[in-house]
């Protein structure tokens, strides 16, 4: 039976927070790794929380909350990402963040490069790897988020690792294009 029947508004909020609390940091890291910058990550996190809360009544069991939450984040990200191609429609906000994304003083070059390299990998592989390495989900939990079998998840993670090592090792993407672009743009401005 869905949780809906027993929920008042306050109960819904309390129960949601109870399930959500242990996952806050893990969701935050997942969102940040997906979007590569804190501003977008905050947006993704807020959208995820609001969407998850809105449909919380339809959740069939508490055990499914983790996969429900991360699945929601993945879907929102994928939908947003489809609309934002690198050569896509100009977005003022995104453009303004170009210079900020990779000059985050709090983020090491290694991490910037990791995020940047991950952004070029196939989406399902990247998500499986992030859920496993960054958010600390088990293989079984990732199966539920991605709605695929165990072997598929293992294969995705393995391929993602191979690809990552290859990209980071061979191409040596030391300087992100974004940082370069911000430099050239700055030169244009005056």
């Amino acid at each position: 039976m869905a949780l809906k029947a027993v929920h008042t508004d306050l109960e819904k909020q309390t129960e949601f927070m109870e399930l959500y609390t242990p996952l806050n940091a893990r969701l935050s890291r997942f969102c940040e790794a997906l979007t590569k910058n804190r501003e977008d990550a905050r947006d993704l996190m807020s959208d995820t929380i609001l969407t998850a809360f809105e449909h919380f009544d339809q959740l069939k069991s508490k055990e499914a909350f983790l996969s429900y939450l991360f699945g929601t984040a993945s879907n929102i990200f994928k939908n947003k990402n489809r609309q934002k191609k690198w050569w896509g429609v100009f977005e003022q906000k995104k453009a303004e963040e170009v210079s900020g994304s990779y000059s985050d003083a709090e983020m090491s070059t290694d991490l910037s490069l990791l995020y940047h390299t991950l952004s070029k990998m196939p989406e399902e592989q990247k998500m499986a790897l992030l859920l496993f390495e960054v958010s600390g989900l088990s293989i079984k939990e990732i199966c539920e988020v991605q709605k695929v079998g165990e072997s598929a998840v293992k294969s995705r993670i393995s391929r993602a690792r191979q690809e990552l090592v290859k990209l980071m090792g061979e191409k040596k993407p030391k300087l992100s294009t974004l940082r370069m672009v911000s430099m050239v743009l700055n030169s244009f401005l005056f």
Binding site: M17, E32, I49, L50, E133, K174, L189
Partner: protein, 531 residues
Amino acid sequence: MIQYNTSLSKAFEEARNRPALMSLVEVEDLISIGKPSGGTRGWKGLFLAAAAWMILISGMYLYPKYIKHTRPKSDKNFMLPQTEKKSSNTQAIVKPTTENTLNEEENISQEPNKLEKLGLQNPAIAHQNIANTRANTKDIFDLSNVDGVYGPMQLPSLKEEVALKTEVPVLAHARYTMKGWKLSSTESGDFTVGIDKNMAHSGQASAYIKSGKTNFKSAWLTQQISAESYIGKRIRLTAWIKCKDPDKKAWAGLFMNLRGDEFKYAGFNNMYDKNIHPSSAGWIKCELVADVPEKTREIAFGLYKVYAGEAWIDDINLEVVGKETPLYFPLTTEAVDTSLVMTDAFQKALSMMVNQPSNLNFELLNQKNEPLHWYIGQESQHFRIYGDPTIQQNGKPSICLQSNGYKNDWNTLLQVCKAGNYLNKHIKISAWVRTAGVIDHASFIFRVDDFTAGMRPENVKEVNFKGNTNWQKVELSLDIPETATSFRYGVLLSDKGQIWMSNLNVEIEPLNHNVMVPDYFKTPINLGFEE
């Protein structure tokens, strides 16, 4: 099982330890928005609130007069009589007031009684507007806790104002004094550039970039030339670079950027992977080899410097080489090879341009009280722009660029207009400008941009101000050559102070002669920094 190398393991470790983006309290607040309130349930309430906001915002855009300044009907008591004075050495005409004595009127007051003294009507409303503006930006400008910052903005006292008064000079800006070169940086005040006559690889001098910043801030000394003579050829850029840095992270490198039409770029490299570190002893020869794609319009090259320390460059050479010379021009991770790519950042740059001069009277402001179609050169916590209802020119609103004086930082408030409709025309721009407490200098600028010469002094006109000046009319004129891509005008402020501009006017006249692009910008110049 794939093994991660050290830097990958370190990166994942860091990713796992990133602080949470939202606290649990924030999450709780977020989901509480949809809770019942005043008989309206959950998301319905949120939807109604959003709808109300949308109606309000649409109304403000449809009827911008409701968001423009509240200003007094007349400030004629405030204006002083005008006389004209023509400068002999440039086309700039400066029309100062008869007396630059501003006495107590000049102090930019925030108090109602002082506003009354200035003869401004409706002081209570004007005072409230200023108070609101100040309140909205209080956090930005309260810099008392930031190292090396002078603290919150304080205008000098009347006595100091008198001491600061100077003649209005008309000068070429210091940034253009090194022939053929310009300095750009992520934060202008953090870097200095110049000629070092005590350090040279050969000849008498070299150029340097110096910085005290230890975080990721970068600067580049650039020369831009036309790509015309190099299209389809393989080119080799060489230079000697030396680096002296206290910081391990610091490095310098030779860079080259091939730029196409409409700000698309064809390639870029700054030697990140072969950069010059402080540990590199003495002068190091650097080299980049690239093919110049067909559609390239401009080649920019020079010295790139990151973090603290000092780097020198000398004996640069750009030459055409045979195809047997191995390429060394890795185009970053998104190798774009010879195709020209339009990036988000350039799209932003293009989107900032107007097709014709717009909002010249600053009557259209956004909700942050900033003028539409104008933009600030670089986002900085040390500068702000705002519509100022208390400072008017002949009843017209003004816009203010203000700085708290962070080191030698400077910034601009400009409008960039596409040149397309104005090619082969002579453009005269006039504006009214006034300043307060300008420690270094402030300017009104008019500049024409083209691909063949991004920064040649002939393309720039400016009138400089210092200290406190009352409203002065400035007029600057330039020819728009066929090679122009855009032209820009507005104010520049260096160091501490405030500059207002108001009541701009653009006159267009036909051009009855051809504008010559100097030959020297077709090939590199001053590569040994001897000029």
